[in-house]
Homo-oligomer: 216 residues x 2
Amino acid sequence: MSEGARLPTAAGRGRRPARARGDDRELLILETAERLLEERPLGAISVDDLARGAGISRPTFYFYFPSKDAVLLTLLDRVVAEADATMTAVFDGSVTAPREGWQRALAAYHGTFRDHRALTVAWAEARATNAEVRALWAEVFERWVQRCATVIEAERARGAAPPGPAARDLAIALTSMNERVISASLSGDGPAIAPDDVVPVMLRVWLNAVYGTPPD
Amino acid sequence: MSEGARLPTAAGRGRRPARARGDDRELLILETAERLLEERPLGAISVDDLARGAGISRPTFYFYFPSKDAVLLTLLDRVVAEADATMTAVFDGSVTAPREGWQRALAAYHGTFRDHRALTVAWAEARATNAEVRALWAEVFERWVQRCATVIEAERARGAAPPGPAARDLAIALTSMNERVISASLSGDGPAIAPDDVVPVMLRVWLNAVYGTPPD
DNA sequence: CGAACGAGTCAACAGGGTGTCGAGTCACGG
DNA sequence: CCGTGACTCGACACCCTGTTGACTCGTTCG
C-alpha cells in the first residue's frame, strides 16, 4: 500500500534525499507506537504490531530499533526534554509568594504527564521490567528532587520554613507522592484523587510538609 | 531424585492420606517461588523454574496453579492477611497521644512490607501487567485509606486537626506516598530514603498534613 | 556505461516461553 | 480385581523475540 509515494518530500531543497525513506519509517514507527498505546497497554503490543502499523515487516523493524522498549525510550526522551524545559521555566520564573511558586511547579509537573497520559502509563508499566526505563526515570526523579531540596533549604535558610527532616529526604517523599498520585489518577485503577483535585491536594501536603502551617 | 520418599508423612494417624502428596507439592511450589524471588525478579522466573524447583514437570505445575501469577497471588494473600491483622491491632490499640498512634501505624505498615522484601518488589512488578494483582492491591489500599480517612475525620471533629482537603483525598495522597517511598526503599533503584529514616520522614509529612504544625 | 556500495527489505530460521491434551501410573474403596 | 480419582508428564500447538542471508534499488565513481 502507498507504493506510489516516491520521496516527494523536501524535493525543492534538492541534493541527496539520503535516508529520506528511512526517517519516514522511523517516524511512522514512533507514531504507531503512540497511537497503539492509546488503545491498549504496552504488554499487549508486539513488535509485529508496531511493524505492521508502520507498513513494514518485523525484521525491518529491527533495522530501525533494537527492541520494542527502545521505541518507548525514544518517545520518553521527548517527554523528558519537554518536562525539563517546563520545569526550568517554572523554577526560574519570578515568584511573588512561595505558595504560588510551589503551586505553579506542581501544576506544571502534573500537566506534563496528563498531556501524555498513554505514554505515562506505559512508562510506569515498562519501569517494572526494563532497566533502561528505570534508569531514565531515576534520572528525571533525581533532578526534580535536587531542585526541590535546594528550594527547601533556601526557605529554611531565610527563616521562612522551620527545620525538619533532611531536605533531600523530604523532597524524595513528596516527589514520590506526586508520582504515585498522578500515576494512579491517570491509569484509573485503584482508589485515586479526581483529576481536578490532584494539584490542590498535593499542594496542601507540600506546603504543610515544608512550612508546617502554611504561610498566607 | 528423591524417588524413594513414599509418603511416610502422617502415617501414624492412619486413614486415607488423601491429597497428602498434593498438598506437599503445592507448598513446595510456593516455597520455591519465594526462594527464587529472593535471587531474581519475577520476570526472570519461568513456570519451568518453579516446576523444576518443586521437583515436578511443567505440565504438573498447571495441575496445581493456573499460572505463574496465581502462585504470586497466593503468596500475596498471606501477606495481606498478616498486614490486615497487624493493621487492626494497631488501629484498635490504645493510643495515648495522636503522634504515637500514627507513628505506630506507619511503623507497622512499613514493617510488614520490609519483612517480605522480595515479595513486595515482585508485587509491584506484577501489578504493572496483571489485573488480578492490581485488583488485590486496590483492595488493600482502599481499606487502609478508609481507616485513615475515618481517623482524620475524627481528629477534625474533636478539634485536634484543622479542616482541609477531603479526608479521603488526603488519605489517598499520603498512602500513595507510603507505598512509593517504601517500594523505592526496598527495591533499591532510583533515589530512595535510607531504610531507618523512612518512618520518621513519613511520620513528619503525615502529621503536618493532618494537623498543620503537629501537636506536642 | 557498468561495477561497487550502502540503505533498506523480508522469508526463513532458531530459540524460548506459555498453556493444553491425552495417555498413562498408582493407591485406595467397593 | 476393578473402578475411580489424584496425580504425572511427553508431545504438541502457539506466540513472541531476535538473527541471518539473500535480494532490490538508487547513487556514486572509475
